[in-house]
């Protein structure tokens, strides 16, 4: 994920107190990161498969 603002307010946005709070997502960390994680995984798999097909062609 991109750089996070530790202890600073992004002009009326969210203020994550610390990295651990960010990862915890108010107790919903499993669900939020489970979604983003699997999406990232799918994208990586797709790009990998594209590269594989290109080698074989």
């Amino acid at each position: 994920m991109g750089a996070h603002d530790e202890g600073s307010d992004a002009g009326g946005g969210v203020n994550w107190g610390s990295l651990s709070e960010f990862l915890d997502m108010g107790g919903y960390g499993f669900y939020v990161w489970g979604s983003y994680g699997v999406t990232a995984l799918c994208i990586c798999l797709e790009i990998f498969s594209l590269k594989q097909k290109k080698e074989r062609a």
Binding site: W16, F22, G26, C42, K53, A57
Partner: protein, 249 residues
């Protein structure tokens, strides 16, 4: 001018054009993703009712939009191929399908993970998720049919017919699933209705949707280049191109 554009309907002309365009779309996809993620995590405020769990929306909704959009685009290319008898159109349809199926899966997965903390179960058979599931089956059917037919021309045409039948039926299926849902659950439970849609939430979803769109174009163009190399492998220009590519590697 138009005759210039139609030149690119030939796989041989389209191949280098796609090659030049691909990097731009990757860059756009990357930039938009970073912007979208920034808004998703650092600008959009916490939701009062759903807490931080709602942030899944920035994956779920764009993925769902793309899954439906890509199916229509895929059916469009397939129909074009059927009408104009162009090989490249069928190849584009084949190139789009896996990415569309991927986004459908992501929409279902993220929907399930959103459903658990919000509605208490991973799968609640709400109208939208159930329609997404049927859409996944339609994608898989298209891919399966194309793979099962050895002759590429017949595969393209059969796939096109299937995709067109599918695209006409998707609104009907969606409507029937909505109907089914209200019949069996009374007030319909909609997972994608974020309570009060702050403008930053909308911005985040739009950025991620645009990012997904750019990503889809990039992957489709990459995939179609590979498909072109496979299908046209007997052509002289393909052999020369492959030699060039191996020499450069």
């Amino acid at each position: 001018m138009t005759s210039d554009l139609f030149r690119f309907a030939a796989p041989q002309a389209f191949f280098p054009l796609a090659g030049k365009l691909i990097p731009w779309f990757w860059v756009l996809a990357g930039v938009l993703t970073l912007a979208g993620l920034y808004v998703a995590f650092f600008v959009a405020p916490t939701d009062h009712q759903q807490g931080e769990a709602y942030r899944i929306i920035f994956i779920h909704v764009p993925a769902a939009w793309m899954s439906m959009f890509l199916y229509v685009v895929m059916a469009g290319w397939a129909g074009l191929g059927l009408a104009l008898n162009t090989r490249l159109s069928g190849m584009m349809a084949s190139a789009i399908a896996p990415t569309g199926a991927m986004f459908t899966f992501v929409a279902l997965w993220s929907g399930a993970l959103w459903g658990r903390p919000t509605w208490g179960a991973y799968w609640v058979w709400d109208a939208r998720l159930t329609s997404e599931l049927v859409l996944l089956f339609l994608y898989l059917g298209f891919i399966a049919l194309k793979s099962a037919i050895p002759d590429p021309v017949r595969a393209d045409r059969a796939g096109a017919i299937l995709a067109l039948v599918g695209v006409v039926n998707v609104p009907i299926i969606y409507f029937s699933v909505q109907w089914w849902n209200t019949l069996h659950q009374g007030a319909s439970v909609s997972l994608t209705r974020a309570p009060s849609m702050a403008s930053t939430m909308l911005l985040g979803m739009l950025l991620m949707a645009l990012a997904a769109w750019m990503y889809s174009i990039a992957t489709a163009l990459c995939r179609v280049r590979t498909i072109i190399l496979e299908r046209e492998r007997d052509a002289e220009w393909v052999r020369m191109t492959k030699d060039q590519m191996r020499a450069a590697a």
